[in-house]
Symmetry: C2
Subunit: 173 residues, 2 copies
C-alpha cells in the first residue's frame, strides 16, 4: 500500500450488512454445491496438471489427447464441437501433439478433406497416464457408495450438462 495512501483506516465494525433487500427474495442460492463443484474440479484437474508439468504439455493438450484416445478417428470438426473452442486454438496444441508423435492424422476414407485423428501408442499411454490419477480420485470419492449411489452421482452430473445441440451451426470463424 505504498503510494495510494488512505485505505479506510477506520476500524468500523463491518460495512452495514443490515439492509438486506429481503423483498420477495426467497431465492435460496445453493452456494454450498457451487463451491463443492469449484473445489472438486480444481483438485480433479490438479492431478494431471502435475504430470503435464514434467512433459511440457498443458491442460489443452490433455483434453485433445483424451478425446482422440476415447474416440479414435475423430474429425477435427467433431473435436472442435466437443471442446467448444476455435480451430485456431486447437491448431497450436494439435500441431505440437502431431509433431511429437502422440497423434496422427489420416485422410477420411469417404471424405478426403477430413483429417481423422488417431492416437499413437505413445498417445494412448499419455492419455492413460493422465486419466489414471483422476480415475483413482473418483474411485476414492465413490468409496462406500453402492451402485445406486454411484448412479445418482452420474445422473446429477449428466443433469448439469447442456442438452446436445442438434443445430450444427458454424463455429469455424
Amino acid at each position: 500500500m505504498s503510494r495510494s495512501g488512505a485505505i479506510n483506516p477506520v476500524p468500523r465494525p463491518v460495512p452495514s450488512d443490515a439492509a438486506l433487500p429481503s423483498s420477495s427474495e426467497t431465492e435460496e442460492i445453493d452456494f454450498e454445491v457451487i463451491e463443492l463443484l469449484f473445489f472438486a474440479y480444481r483438485d480433479f484437474t490438479s492431478d494431471p496438471d502435475a504430470i503435464l508439468d514434467t512433459s511440457g504439455f498443458g491442460r489443452a493438450h490433455h483434453r485433445v489427447v483424451h478425446f482422440v484416445n476415447r474416440e479414435p478417428g475423430l474429425t477435427v470438426a467433431a473435436l472442435l464441437e466437443t471442446l467448444k473452442i476455435t480451430k485456431q486454438s486447437l491448431a497450436r496444441v494439435l500441431k505440437q501433439l502431431i509433431d511429437s508423435g502422440y497423434i496422427t492424422q489420416v485422410a477420411g476414407p469417404e471424405d478426403r478433406r477430413q483429417r481423422r485423428l488417431y492416437p499413437t501408442e505413445r498417445g494412448r499411454e499419455l492419455a492413460l497416464a493422465l486419466a489414471r490419477p483422476q480415475s483413482r480420485r473418483i474411485a476414492n470419492a465413490f468409496q462406500g457408495m453402492d451402485e445406486n449411489g454411484r448412479a445418482v452421482v452420474k445422473a446429477f452430473l449428466s443433469g448439469m450438462i447442456n442438452p446436445a445441440r442438434t443445430d450444427a451451426s458454424d463455429k469455424t470463424g
Copy 2:
C-alpha cells in the same frame, strides 16, 4: 503450471507411472465420470461467463467476488489460499473490482497490516447474479432426487476435494 518454455515437449512417456508392463492391467479407468465432470463443469461455468461478457469482467473476477461475498472480511492471504493463485495474479483483478466499486478494503481491526475484503452492495448484487443461473442448474440436476440422493452427491463432491492442508506454507512469491 509450467514455465517450461520449449515447444516440442520431451517425448519421454511421463514418470514411472506410465510404462505398465501390462502385467495386471485390470485397471478400469473411469472415463465415463471423467468426461461427465469435464462437460458438467464446462457448462456450469458457461452460465456466469455469459453475464460476465457483458460487464467486462472475467472468470477470475467472478471467483473473487464470489468468495468475498461468501466470507466478508476475508483477508487477502486467505483469499489467495482459497483460490490457490499468486498475489500478483490476484492483484490485477482485485484492483479492478475495487476501482469499479464492487469490493472495499478495510484495515484489520486487530492486525492493521491486513486488508479485509468486503463486498459493496453492488458487489453483492453481482455475486448473486452470477450465482443464480448456477444454482438453477444445480437445482435442475437435483430434480427428482430425495434428500438422501442429494446428500450422496455432496458426499461425492466432497470426496473429490483434497484434504485441507494444515501446513500454511509460503505462497507469496
